[in-house]
Symmetry: C2
DNA sequence: TTAAATCCTACTAATCCGATGGGATAAAAG
DNA sequence: CTTTTATCCCATCGGATTAGTAGGATTTAA
């Protein structure tokens, strides 16, 4: 199960994505940099009600994780460092919740040898590696862009 | 990540499966009932070193969950209620760790409505439902039998 | 009657999670 | 240069969960 941290992160990111795509649409070229249009924590909380302080720690994590940039001081806030297409959901989850694999001994980014268990013989490893791969097939393919898709699109006028 | 409980459960189950398959091979027909050849906690711990008391609570859970039967008193122990092929890994995980889905609002067996989030509009639901399905594709297909497969088979003589 | 097993309830120690508080630092605006 | 509005950083805290323990009741075979 995703932690609250990860859930809040996705909510916050969804608004950052919308802002980012909007900026790209408006500023035709790269005339408007992402750092010129940062979104503050206060603004995000207005859209997605949650603890301001808690969100702060989350956005800091995402910044340290290389997903967000920030601008301090008045008019400051956070912004995406890359195109939403280029940040898979897996990256967000790893930053906030750690390993995606069901066992440390099949984790790609957080591998730990398992005690009392010969990996070559252990039947569980193989199976859990399958589960990990099934997960990653989705989580590495789907990106922040997919978060912001409006499922009502195409229905409005029809 | 799987809890220790689930990990221990799988280890214990792997020996119960081996015993069960052995019994089926020996007793040709159904001349030997599973309840005639129960395996005690003590025996399991000999194979897989772990806290006896902790394993006790785990096997009790598996019994209440409908996977194991038990026989009390001297010579007693635990045994599989069904053919190993007929217990998917998903069932074991649900008993010991609860939901498999990454969010309560996309869980099949432990569904809970999510607050502050319109499911029809929320982009995350759709994506996490995809993750859930990817997981279940493996965990409902793979069974206890897969736990006991010897990966060295076919290599010994070659 | 004894020994060996499951069964049951409660408890505990440690860890993790969600959240909060207080302040340092930076930048823009007047 | 001061105020305001932000991010940044660190420490703490209550509650929940996890992993494991304790002790005894119950059942059955020998």
């Amino acid at each position: 199960m995703l932690s609250k941290k990860a859930q809040y992160a996705f909510r916050a990111l969804s608004t950052l994505v919308r802002t980012d795509l909007q900026r790209r649409a408006d500023g035709a070229d790269a005339t408007v940099a992402a750092s010129d249009a940062p979104t503050s924590i206060t603004e995000i909380v207005k859209v997605h009600p949650m603890s301001t302080k808690f969100l702060e720690t989350i956005l800091l994590d995402l910044k340290r994780g290389g997903i967000l940039g920030s601008k301090k001081g008045k008019g400051g806030g956070y912004y995406l460092l890359k195109h939403p297409d280029d940040t898979p959901l897996a990256q967000v989850i790893r930053i906030l919740d750690g390993p995606i694999a069901p066992l440390p001994c099949v984790s790609l980014h957080f591998y730990e040898r398992c005690q009392d268990c010969n990996e070559a013989v252990c039947g569980l490893n193989r199976l859990m590696a399958e589960v990990r791969d099934a997960n990653l097939a989705v989580l590495e393919k789907r990106t922040l862009s997919d978060l912001a898709v409006d499922p009502g699109a195409g229905l409005a006028g029809a």
